[in-house]
Symmetry: C2
Subunit: 354 residues, 2 copies
């Protein structure tokens, strides 16, 4: 890498920490967390909740290791870290699926109840508006169908995750992380570069990639409430159609920004490690908020797709299909709402950013 | 009526126009318009477009006569005008139905096309995403079903309107309006009351009724974009349910405000007539905007209900039901968007109002 010297005008005499030191410190911390959650998982035995929490922590540190190796790649032994990064991506995806299906089902169940006015206390005269456990027949059947399909998918994802955690491929990943915990394979130059010069420069590169990706988003449309953009392909995915996933194409740039927001957050965590303090607390908070809006965007998009997929089940009743249609549109509006929310956060972030 | 003297502190010597004069002037103008459109309608013959325009103008003046008689009722011969007002309400409702069904069908057709991404030029590779005239099978079938049902309803409404226009009941209304055109039956006191004292006071009473009705609206919720409130009963009206129309109950206060906004507009038109100029142009513009938002609210609510009703048709295909579900939710979001728009206009209006 080339050494930048944007902040080199006024050198601070005492800050001679090297980029290698800071990066090692951060990565070792995450690697130790990874190994700890792995132990937690092994000890959790039959406790599904504990095991779930252990997997969550495992994914958390795995994401940070992979993200940091991505942002600060030029400082590392890239042959070794690129390999680990690929394996971590495989692991993160695999371990995330069970959680994603569970969250999707919970979201859709919640939406079905909300859309049934099941909790509405404002019904004058207290007329019971819904039948069968607070749901209409269509909503109840749609719920049962989604429950069946997503629980099956979740169970399969759980088995796949368990199998993966017992595989030799995973053991190789765990061994590599153990190496990281003791000594991070760095590029020799990283030990000569000053942290305050090398690290912000690489974080800035990620920041610029993020800015470019956000520039490519249709934020001017998304910033108008009720622009109805997220549902423009709402019927291009109806049961009988073998159409390409038009909504997926529309969502892709937002998912891309979501990943970059994450990278930027991890990049910032390393800078914070360097300063032993939150360097830009307001930036961190906003990045977190922006990321949460885009998480919601992705979850709602996934839920909308699941409702549309369920509606393609053969021989369902019209009432079930109708409820799934309402549900699909509702979740697409959640997608639109998340874009609006992201746009609002981004406006403030763009002003505050370096 | 009791004579108010709120503005009597500083009497303007030259403005001695009576309330009766102003009211007569405005009502005679509207009555003449009414009779002219009636003649237009008779002359339109087989020209459906001309006939439609004539009916539109007829309703326009009928609404203004009825509204003005409502707001300025104490100045009129109430026994005579209450009777006419009731008959005008019957006529306005009857003549409006054909138009409402046509508008509803156009709105739903437009939504189906929009939701099918039929006009989307952003599809990379130009992959045709929809089959059969730019629509998916489900959307096309839903469209055909709505077309059938709403065209039937429209045809019936057209016949009913034609029949009404030939009825002795209608002729009696036309005769009464002709009376209005020559001499408005007023309360004798109206000829003694000063316009600048009596008229603003009655307009103010309508304004206060409007303010009270708006205060009863959940504007703080409606003002948050994507509050998802309009769809909370989205599945309480699924095909298989014999639930009470929960969405109708939720919409009613908004429809009530819509009627009061209209009354307030017509009240203002009389005040403008009094001053021979637009007294408060910004108020008039905002009342018009608020009314348009609530018109859109009512139209979207009607369209959403029509989609839900169509989904209750026996033996429809699941794909059709799914498309109707998406359509229902889409139109309920239009309802929510209209409430949001009204809230924004009202904020400004509340500041500008007298």
């Amino acid at each position: 890498m080339t050494k930048r010297s944007a902040a080199a005008g006024v050198p601070v005499a005492r800050d001679v920490t090297t980029a290698g030191d800071v990066l090692c410190g951060y990565l070792q911390l995450q690697a130790v967390e990874f190994l700890r959650s792995l132990r937690l998982h092994a000890e959790s035995g039959s406790g599904a909740e504990d095991a779930g929490e252990a997997v969550r922590l495992l994914r958390r540190s795995a994401r940070r290791v992979a993200g940091t190796l991505h942002v600060y790649r030029p400082l590392t032994d890239t042959a070794w870290t690129d390999q680990l990064r690929g394996e971590l991506a495989w692991l993160i995806d695999l371990l995330g699926r069970e959680y994603a299906y569970a969250a999707r089902l919970a979201r859709l169940r919640g939406a079905l109840h909300r859309l049934s006015g099941a909790d509405a206390a404002d019904a004058p005269g207290g007329v019971p508006e819904v039948s069968g456990g607070g749901l209409t027949v269509g909503a109840a059947r749609a719920g049962a169908l989604l429950d069946r399909q997503l629980t099956l998918a979740r169970t399969r994802a759980h088995s796949a995750a368990l199998q993966a955690l017992g595989s030799s491929r995973f053991h190789a990943v765990a061994d590599a992380v153990a190496v990281l915990a003791s000594e991070v394979p760095l590029d020799p130059a990283a030990h000569d570069l000053l942290a305050r010069e090398a690290l912000p420069c690489l974080a800035e590169q990620t920041h610029r990639r993020l800015m470019d990706a956000v520039d490519a988003l249709p934020l001017s449309v998304a910033g108008l409430p009720y622009n109805a953009e997220a549902l423009v392909h709402g019927l291009a995915a109806t049961p009988a159609a073998d159409a390409p996933p038009a909504e997926g194409r529309q969502d892709a740039p937002w998912h891309h920004v979501r990943r970059l927001v994450r990278l930027r957050r991890y990049a910032q965590e390393v800078l914070d490690e360097q300063h032993q303090a939150e360097e830009e607390p307001s930036l961190s908070v906003r990045l977190l908020g922006a990321g949460q809006a885009l998480d919601r965007h992705r979850e709602a998009a996934g839920a909308a797709a699941a409702a549309a997929a369920a509606a393609r089940t053969p021989r369902i009743a019209p009432a079930t299909a109708y409820a799934l249609g309402v549900l699909h549109a509702d979740q697409r509006h959640e997608v639109e709402a998340a874009r609006y929310a992201f746009g609002r956060i981004w406006q403030r972030l763009a002003v505050a950013a370096p």
